[in-house]
Amino acid sequence: MKIDKLIDSGYYWIDDAARRSALSLARKLSRRNFLSRLGMMLAGAAAFPLLPVSRSFAQSAVQEIGDPATCEYWRYCAMSGSLCACCGGSFSSCPPGTQPSPISWVGTCRNPVDGRDYLMSYNDCCGKSSCSRCGCHRTERDKPVYYNGNSSTVYWCFGVEDTSYNCTVSLVLGYSDE
């Protein structure tokens, strides 16, 4: 019983403190002051993309070229499997009702738009029978199954409820400026 009372009084204290601080601000600041500060915030938000940090974020958006439903698409340099872009998903999304595997193999692909090498993660979409459309098998820097982190041969439906294989997506993890 005592505990309930203590909790109630704690809530009351918080409410009261908030009310008092709001009243205090209202007494000190005019409405015009509030509007001027709001205007500064809006102007600042507009200027934010011009700052260096913001520019570096903008550059990290990957520029795409080509058709993701074809094996020649630049992201697929170490791909092996059915392209999810042909199976109801996209190059980075799984088809409806499938489960994306959190574990993947990796490759390094050069984007022809900016000439940069990107670290790619190839994740299998799992839990349905094989899509079997747009089969794609490329082997740039591919390694044998005993070195499976770089092996496109392996089915990577691990860490999911149903480990049957449906199709594969390709996600950019980062880029190399070497």
């Binding site: 839990g127 199954v145 041969t153 409820e161």
Partner: protein, 364 residues
């Protein structure tokens, strides 16, 4: 008119009598005949068909799971062994991995041993290895770390799972030992005790670089050990003596400038008593290791000489040479040409066999 009527009546009475004299046929089921020369198994995605390469006849079929890596056999017990993986509802539901034991006469399952649901579900021959004692079966796991499940196929029990980080492709040596290829450029020898538990583990020196020129995950058994080949075409003969791993001096496939070995299934095989290598080759450079061969090269492992280049009409999917007095070279392709049977010594094409979906062959 009367004559015609009599004749018609006579025929209607005679015909049923003639039919009645023919005994109706009874359906029957064959059993497997005694093994013949040059039989082989053609494993597909969900089964294994047994053929006679000398006649082209199909003799029977094993039904296997879609995920079975390979199938093998042990003659003294007249049994086949396959690692299998099933989902309760086809592609979803409870997963069950197991080793299934098939009898010889009916090619039917007669026993099964449940194993951990970690089986590497890839058609790699080295993912299934019956050790030379005929008792311990090594099933490769990927979860995604590498390990192996040891099954005692004689007593029909799962022994245990051995962690083998970074190492795969299991190659039986000695009586109850096996070698593996490791990503750090070494070989690993695992020696089991009588019960199938790990007794000893040995690592070789580094002899290749997985980044610069990796050893393939497809290997061929030789008279004394195993033959390994790198993506660029360097050959290594490896063997063991007790707990010592012997790695021969590497040598290049002769006269192979601009050519490389490769394929996506088992693309090399050795005729053991004559030390002849049959290997699928293609024209190409770095990272073309999964390209199917346009030619099969025959190389003498004793003299390191290239003996023959066999041009193929269709790229080679997989191949094997039978270990017989009169050996056959069996070549699989995915085109319309079917599975081709050559005399392995004269290289004469003898026949083509329809073996649907053949992805890997096993000598019988």
């Amino acid at each position: 008119m009367r004559l015609m009527l009599t004749l018609a009546l006579g025929l209607t009475l005679v015909c049923p009598l003639a039919v009645a004299q023919l005994a109706p046929e009874q359906i029957s089921v064959e059993t497997m005949p005694a093994p013949g020369n040059n039989w082989f198994i053609a494993k597909s995605g969900n089964g294994a068909r047994i053929f006679d390469a000398e006649t082209g006849t199909m003799l029977g079929q094993l039904s296997l799971s879609d995920w079975t890596p390979a199938v093998t056999k042990w003659d003294p017990r007249k049994e086949f062994y396959a690692a299998e993986s099933y989902f309760a509802r086809g592609v979803h539901g409870q997963r069950t991995d197991l080793v299934t034991i098939y009898d010889y006469d009916n090619l039917s399952p007669v026993a099964e041993v449940i194993i951990p649901n970690h089986m590497a579900r890839l058609a790699v021959r080295g993912h299934l290895a019956l050790l030379n004692n005929g008792r311990h079966l090594v099933v490769h796991n990927m979860n995604p770390g590498h390990s192996v499940s040891i099954v005692d196929v004689q007593d029909r029990v799962f022994v245990y799972e051995i962690s083998t980080p970074g190492c795969a492709v299991n190659m039986p040596v000695g009586e109850k030992d096996f070698l593996q290829i490791c990503g750090d450029g070494t070989l690993q020898l695992i020696q089991l005790d009588l019960s199938g538990f790990e007794e000893n583990r040995v690592r070789s020196e580094v002899f290749f670089s997985v980044q610069d020129d990796a050893v393939f995950d497809r290997v061929a058994r030789t008279a004394n050990g195993w033959l390994l080949v790198t993506h660029a075409g360097q050959l290594f003969e490896v063997s063991t003596a007790g707990s010592t791993i012997n790695i021969g001096e590497g040598w290049n496939i002769p006269d192979a400038e601009g050519w490389r070995p490769g394929g996506r299934s088992e693309f090399l095989s050795v005729l053991q008593d004559k030390a002849l290598l049959y290997i699928a080759m293609h024209e190409g450079g770095v990272d073309t290791h999964h390209e199917r061969g346009t030619e099969i090269w025959v190389i003498d492992l004793a003299t390191h000489r290239l003996l023959r280049r066999l041009e193929m009409e269709e790229p080679v999917a997989t191949l094997i040479v039978t270990q017989e007095q009169n050996p056959k070279l069996i070549v699989g392709a995915f085109g319309d040409g079917g599975t081709l049977v050559y005399d392995a010594l004269t290289f004469r094409l003898e026949r083509s066999i329809v073996a649907p979906g053949a992805q890997m062959f096993e000598d019988f």
